[in-house]
Amino acid sequence: MTLKKSPRPLDDVLYEFSIASAEPDAALLDEFTRRYPEYAEALTDLAVDTRLDALRGDKEAGTVETGMSAAVSRAMSRFSSELFAVRQTRAKVKRAQGAAEHNPFSELGKTQLRSVAEGLHSNTVFVLMLRDRQIDPTTMSKGFVGVVANELKAPVELVAAHFAGQPQAMSGQLFKADAKPQKSPQISFEDAVKKSGLTEEQQKYLLSL
């Protein structure tokens, strides 16, 4: 028999234990340690600490200060810094999501795809791999990304953000298989060039970028 791993994070379990009762008793500790055996030690420590904490009394101590104390003021500074960081991160994530969601290949029809393929000295198989993010972007040269951006007439940043997104299952095509096609792992740029049925001359050109 294998123990089922708890999906609940430790923080949640400790909070839940703490608010379950004004003062934890043996029955509550027993219930929680049986349910979360992986956190039994932390739960026991919290139960003991809670009891000892109760010995110190529950009332607020110290004089009530008028205005903001130095400690509260410093805590507010930390809050403001964190809030600023959170807002910056959110803005960055939003921008990156927007870029990743916009696939610069998505509006290309068959003729345009062929045209881009010719411009890159490649074929449509290779361009479809670029469209579906089948190639590991860390193995692409900046020169290559620049040439692609030029062929697509799109900003380099947008094309780079597209390549950096999650690989997609090939879409918009009919498949003979019974199951829906799965996202395949990305391959290196060099392997993609070698496995796309390109001529030696085409391969040499793309690898030189």
Partner: protein
């Protein structure tokens, strides 16, 4: 009506705020920030204008969700001031030489939760909207445990040095059975402050054994491995538990003898009466 909480308990049921908290939140809806600030400043729960901390957490989070950072900045200090008052009563120089710094760190980490709440899907602040004091207690106790483990700077309690008491430790221990100690533990507030401090300052392993055995009433050991015992909870043998309890009793001996005297005095007075 206040936005529903999203955190679920261990049985998959959504947490809800107590009805009294919901009704105060409803009553505060639509009030201007200045009047809420005026009420947030009141620290006495006995006042009919008092705003419970659970409500303050809701109001601060609600302001954050609306992007009203000015309201967050205006209300959070009142909540932090209450937390500071509580920490002052709990974290003192007797245990931590730099108690002020520790209190400040805890307040800072707690304040950061409100900023992180805007993006953190874990919604930990939901717990604070249900039972603020219990959730905050879990927060600072977790911090203190980490801090103690990092520093290992517990102050050793002094050895028994009462010259008028010439009993040996063994004789003293004979008079201090668990039957005497257990009622004291279970009736909170019966200890003298010195005794409470002495228990708090016991070494970690002894303190844990004392609280689990005398307060939680767990047996020292159990043949049934599925049954909760001090040994199973501490991951040691029953013999080790008994040794730890014995050592703890020796350390507490001085304080216990004072408690005994008080107990005898009270008994004598009630018998005379």
């Amino acid at each position: 009506m206040a936005r529903r909480l999203t955190k679920k308990n261990k049985d998959g049921v959504l947490y809800t705020r107590p009805a009294a908290i919901e009704s105060i939140i409803d009553a505060l809806a639509g009030k201007d920030l200045d009047s809420i600030k005026g009420r947030a400043e009141i620290r006495s729960p006995d006042s009919n204008q008092y705003v419970p901390s659970e409500c303050l957490v809701f109001l601060i989070r609600d302001a954050g969700r609306r992007g009203d950072h000015a309201a967050m900045n205006a209300l959070l200090p009142y909540l932090l001031a209450r937390c500071e008052g509580r920490l002052k009563g709990k974290i003192q120089r007797e245990e931590f030489a730099d108690a002020e710094k520790i209190r400040e760190d805890i307040l800072g980490e707690f304040a950061v939760l409100f900023a992180a709440d805007l993006t953190d899907p874990r919604c930990r602040l939901d717990f604070y909207e249900c039972r603020f004091n219990a959730a905050f207690r879990a927060f600072y106790l977790h911090y203190l445990r980490r801090e103690r483990a990092r520093r290992e700077d517990l102050v050793e309690i002094p050895a028994r040095d009462d010259p008028e008491d010439d009993r040996t430790d063994e004789e003293m221990l004979e008079t201090m059975s668990g039957e005497i100690l257990r009622p004291w533990f279970q009736k909170r507030g019966q200890f003298s402050q010195e005794m409470k401090d002495a228990i708090v300052r016991l070494p970690e392993d002894e303190r844990k054994a004392v609280v689990l055995h005398y307060y939680f009433g767990l047996p020292e050991d159990s043949i049934d491995r599925a049954k909760l015992s001090v040994a199973s909870r501490c991951g040691v043998t029953g013999k080790t538990v008994r040794n730890r309890l014995g050592r703890a009793m020796k350390r507490l001996a001085k304080y216990l003898s004072l408690e005994e005297e008080k107990f005898d005095d009270v008994k004598e007075i009630s018998e005379t009466a």
